[in-house]
């Protein structure tokens, strides 16, 4: 059943019966604010704030580390470029040196070979002259003998 006593809305038992409930509820509510502030809002706010600080601190640290890492990378890259240049320079100089060495070696070897050829040619010439000389002598002797023989046979006749 639905009872609404409209004639006594504001009186005791009415729908809009204002009485001491109002201030007591207000008091109760104020106490609830104080209690919840102590056991809920303050501790949780502290946790949230400290976590935010922690995250911010770590972010700062991370960005500092990132800067350092970038700096280091830059330095290392510069060093790398320098080292590469140095290496190229060293390779070219050593190539040049090796080329020069090889060239001088070849030149010397050629010179030696030429000298050898030259000396052996001279020797050969001397030998040839000697041989020709001795041959001439022999030819002379033989021709002498032939002459002598011819003369002797001629005389005997």
């Amino acid at each position: 059943m639905l009872y609404i006593n409209s004639s006594t809305l504001l009186a005791e038992g009415g729908l809009f019966d204002f009485d001491a409930t109002l201030p007591f509820v207000a008091l109760e509510f104020l106490l609830l604010i104080i209690v919840l502030n102590l056991i809920y809002y303050q501790p949780i706010t502290q946790v949230i704030d400290s976590r935010e600080d922690y995250i911010r601190e770590n972010l700062n640290k991370a960005s500092i580390y990132l800067d350092e890492a970038n700096e280091l990378t830059k330095n290392y890259e510069l060093e790398l470029i320098a080292a590469r240049k140095e290496a190229i320079r060293m390779v070219t100089t050593s190539q040049n040196e090796a080329q020069e060495f090889v060239n001088t070696q070849i030149y010397q070897a050629q010179k030696e070979a030429q000298e050898l050829i030259h000396s052996s040619m001279i020797q050969f010439e001397q030998e040839k002259n000697k041989a020709i000389y001795s041959l001439e002598k022999q030819v002379e002797q033989i021709s002498e003998q032939i002459k002598n023989k011819l003369i002797s046979t001629y005389i005997k006749k």
């Binding site: 059943m1 038992g13 409930t21 207000a26 109760e28 104020l30 919840l36 809002y41 946790v47």
Partner: protein
């Protein structure tokens, strides 16, 4: 037919000296306060840097309340008002939902019946008057006597309307909440009286939604009034 009978405006009177109290309001509101305190204690029991379980839930709610307060009052002053706005929201929300979800009818009182504390005009009027006090306190503590200059702004012609506003604010706050919760409980009761099964369920769901919205509206409006009082013109 006891379970589905409707009683409006009947109170279980308790006399405390010269004071007359509505005992049903205090029984249920103490229950609501008990729930809030138990949840707070359990959630803040073992707190850790990385929240889990109930602590996470409490942090979520607090950040929700902080968002409401921050958006209405502003970055600078909102922290002082979080306890007030938060308690308003939590108290009204848990009151409304306990009225809708807990079968209080099982407990029989000699007179009247147990229901949400916000079902009583005294509770909502108390909350609304506290809100009025709060925004007066906020304005005067922030701006001193210059706070009253807002009554003649933008022109002195609006003085009566500006003064009237101080009365309409608590009136609308209290009656909005009271009317919504009472109407919701009445609709559910009447529907249950007509069709006891299944049919009242959608209305009950709607009631749950509406009562949570009412808690949000009350807290947001209270924060808006405080923010308005603090604001420099």
């Amino acid at each position: 037919m006891l379970i589905s009978s409707v009683k409006v405006g009947e109170h279980f009177y308790l006399t405390l000296g010269v004071f007359k109290l509505h005992a049903q309001v205090f029984i249920v509101s103490f229950f609501v306060i008990f729930i809030l305190i138990v949840f707070s204690l359990l959630g803040t029991n073992k707190m850790s840097q990385t929240p889990r379980g109930l602590q996470n839930f409490l942090e979520y709610i607090l950040e929700f309340i902080q968002d409401i307060t921050k958006s209405q009052i502003g970055e600078h002053y909102y922290r002082d008002w979080v306890p007030f706005i938060g308690t308003l929201f939590l108290f009204i929300f848990v009151s409304n939902w306990s009225g809708a979800l807990i079968p209080w009818k099982i407990i029989i009182l000699p007179e009247g019946e147990l229901s949400a504390p916000t079902n009583d005009i005294n509770t909502t009027a108390a909350l609304a008057l506290l809100t009025s006090l709060a925004y007066f306190y906020a304005g005067i503590s922030k701006r001193g006597i210059r706070y009253f200059s807002r009554y003649i702004k933008p022109t002195p012609i609006l003085l009566p309307i500006n003064i009237l506003e101080d009365f309409t604010k608590p009136l609308s706050l209290s009656f909005r909440l009271f009317g919504n919760i009472l109407a919701d409980e009445l609709v559910v009761s009447v529907l249950t009286l007509l069709v006891p099964l299944i049919v009242p369920l959608p209305v009950m769901m709607l009631g749950l939604f509406a009562s949570s919205i009412q808690a949000l509206i009350f807290a947001t409006l209270a924060a808006a009034y405080i923010g308005e009082a603090i604001e420099e013109h």
